[in-house]
Amino acid sequence: MSKRLFSILLVSVLLISLFSFSVLAEFPEKPLNYIVCFNPGGESDITARAQQKPLEEVLGEDVVVQYKIGGGGAVGWSELVNAKPDGYTVAGFNLPHIILQPLVREDPGYATEDIKPVFIFQATPNILAVHKDSPFETLDDFVTYAEENPGVITVGGSGSYSANHLGTLEFNQEAEIKTTYIPFTGSGEAVPALLGQHVSALMTYTTMGIRHSDEMRVLAVAADERVPAMPDIPTFKELGYEYVEGAYRGMAAPPDTPDDLVAELADANLAVNEMPEFKNQLEDMGFQILNIGPEEAEELIADRVEYYKEILVDVGLL
């Protein structure tokens, strides 16, 4: 008798919980894990931190930033692709990193296709900058000198196989010049090398140009249009070079995350991007605000994979 009562009770509890689950299953219903794959204080971290509070407002749940640092992001991304695809684990992702690492490393622990883009919310176009005392006043001076003295100009930048590295190679090709690229570990380490005049120029990001505008002269910016925070700086395109390059940053989910959850997260990202305070804060620092949703992002990545393959083959690195 009591056994029967117990089973009835159990079944009803199960039924109720099942029912309530389907009714209450409003995503999200618990805190979100936001993996940051780069050192605290860098671009990826600062912008994820800037998103954190507004995202919490939009989603109505806590967003917990978790650091999984190393290997130029690969350590974090290799964990992301193995995480549960329930929408509660997301990570910041960077282009071109997630494309270049699987191309040049034997096993970075993830494949580009495994990383499911949710939203690309900002980008930092490359800039070419020189020390304020440098003899190069314009991009023309720079190119002319490089033509006359092949390989003498040293260009510092953040890392190997980064947007700065590839960008230097692309610009060398486009302008038909030869410069020596010197990789530093992060933009933060490249800047002192320029300020101390240990390198002739930097291929770095817009953010660095804004931060150090008193100490460096920006010759051109590798964006389609001029960047709001540096309206006086011409684009390479304006100066006659088909060269657009930079780092894109966004949020990604594990493979097989349901599309409706991805869409919901993308909406939240969009809502944050549209907050004037957030937008101004990032633009003042030199970031370009972008609204690239999941499908568009996937297309962009697919396009860039082919594009980078071509460049790497051209310069003999692949």
Partner: protein, 504 residues
């Protein structure tokens, strides 16, 4: 400037800011004392909370946490031979032997005086010498960093003076471990054994815990029957506070020299407390009249490392505030906080927002004074607690903490595995009389040396002989001379003592 200093002082001394700083210093000390939670992580954890504060409160809180965390590392270094942060590696060399001799409290108090004092000297350097120092720091390019690391490697000679060959072998082993992961230049994948987590390299903190803490815990556990049941010895002593004070200030040269070394190493971007404390230790030993007592519980060793590491905190703020270049990883996080507060490091900070900047700088004075008080009170209680707990409870608890700590470095189980394997290797090496110092020195200096070497070579590529760039720049030449002197010193000392013996 006087007027700004005055308004800045008023801005700090509000009840709210005092409470925030007290919280910051205490929380930092706890985090620093726990192996695995570094200064970088503790600052990063608090950053989001500072977004809602006004700039002064936010910054002084972060500064206080940073100071506290660097100091807190001394507790675990002294009591359980585990550097709580890489900045306290050298503190284990003499601090832990002091604790074993029953002078743990004296070691902690000495560390407290030295840390607070070093921090205060660092603050004065920050306030008055920022601009010229930042200019000097910029003159250090890749070739100079290469030579600094070569100089750093000569420290092995002092660390392992009893057996120089084993020291060199240890240093080479450390350099080899440092090569695991993605090459800093060129991006090649090296020795990762197919494990994705190794792309990020072997974590210094895992190795520190493994090499310093685990072997000692195993030793204590192994000797339990023979010994009494406590892990740390206590001898009833009086006048400990006064003796600790005298350790630091009676012959203040060591303390002052170490603080200056710390501040200057802190100013250099890319070199921080992990290097400063070892350099200061080396110089203290070299200047000492009784260098052979270093490593056996000489309080001067603790003075050197702790004064130096707390001076790096303020030193690291020099390039950050003047040029917008973080001098150390925690400074990079404070940079992020500045940016999100709408402040842009550089000359602007010293004109438009000077009142905030000077308040931030001055807050380091206050933070270090608070650190002193909390350190004396907290140090006494933590010492009591550790000495009361029987070893059979203490040892497993600490091992448990080391597992948590190494996992928390970057939430990766591989770091725990590395720590445990490192512990076993460290135990074997200890039995074979290898000092862990040279190994971690190699691990710390390896990546910096590699970057300096390759970047320097690339810089020199346009010359007829690329390698000449390493021998022609003035600062490089100075560093080469210092390196030769440093490497030759142990030989000179040995010769001299032999000659003296001959005379007798």
């Amino acid at each position: 400037m006087g007027e700004i200093l005055l308004t800045a002082t008023i801005a700090i001394f509000t009840v709210k800011n005092m409470l925030f700083m007290l919280f910051g210093v205490s929380a930092g000390m706890i985090a620093g004392a726990l192996p695995g939670l570094t200064a970088t992580m503790s600052v990063a954890l608090i950053v989001p909370f500072t977004f809602t504060m006004d700039p002064v409160s936010g910054l002084v809180t972060l500064g206080a946490i940073y100071c506290g965390a660097i100091f807190g590392g001394a507790f675990s270094a002294i009591l359980v031979n585990t550097p709580g942060t890489p900045s306290s590696i050298g503190t284990t060399f003499d601090g832990y032997p002091m604790a074993q001799q029953g002078k743990g409290e004296e070691a902690i108090f000495t560390a407290t005086f030295a840390s607070a004092g070093g921090g205060i000297i660092g603050t004065f350097i920050l306030i008055f010498l920022s601009v010229p120092l930042a200019r000097v720091a910029l003159r250090f390019g890749p070739p100079e960093y290469f030579w600094i690391t070569v100089f750093g490697l000569t420290i092995i000679a002092s660390l392992a003076s009893k057996n120089i060959l084993k020291g060199l072998a240890g240093g080479a082993f450390g350099l080899l471990i440092s090569m695991i992961g993605i090459a800093p230049i060129g991006g090649d994948v090296r020795f990762t054994m197919g494990i994705p987590a190794f792309q990020g390299g072997v974590q210094l903190i895992s190795i520190l815990i493994g090499f310093f803490c685990i072997p000692e815990m195993l030793r204590i556990a192994g000797n339990l029957q023979k010994q009494k049941m406590q892990a740390v010895n206590v001898e009833k002593q009086t006048g400990v506070l006064k003796r600790s004070f005298l350790n630091v200030f009676e012959k203040p040269m060591n303390f002052i020299r170490s603080s200056i070394i710390g501040a200057f190493v802190g100013v250099l971007p890319g070199a921080g407390g992990n290097i400063a404390n070892l350099v200061a230790y080396n110089e203290a030993q070299r200047a000492s009249k009784e260098p052979e007592t270093f490593g056996t519980g000489n309080p001067q060793g603790v003075v050197a490392t702790e004064a130096a590491n707390n001076a790096t905190v303020e030193g690291g703020m020099v390039p950050l505030l003047t040029l917008g270049i973080p001098g150390a990883p925690p400074a990079a996080i404070i940079y992020g906080a500045l940016m999100l507060q709408g402040l842009r490091p550089g000359p602007e900070l010293f004109s438009g927002s000077a009142h905030i900047t000077y308040a931030f700088m001055l807050s380091f004075l206050v933070a270090n004074l608070m650190m002193f008080i909390v350190g004396i009170l907290g140090g006494r209680s933590i010492f009591k607690i550790v000495t009361i707990i029987p070893a059979k409870i203490l040892v497993p608890s600490i091992i448990f903490l080391t597992i948590l700590g190494s996992y928390s470095i970057r939430n990766n189980i591989m770091d725990v595995v590395v720590m445990l394997v490192g512990g076993l290797v460290g135990y074997l090496l200890k039995e074979l009389n290898f000092h862990p110092g040279p190994i971690v020195l190699g691990l710390i200096l390896g990546p910096i040396a590699e970057k300096g070497l390759v970047q320097g070579y690339l810089m020199g590529l346009s010359r007829p002989n690329p390698w000449m760039i390493f021998f022609t720049r003035p600062i490089s030449i100075v560093l080469i001379v210092i390196t030769l002197l440093s490497a030759g010193w142990p030989i000179y000392r040995e010769l001299k003592s032999k000659l003296q013996k001959g005379e007798n």
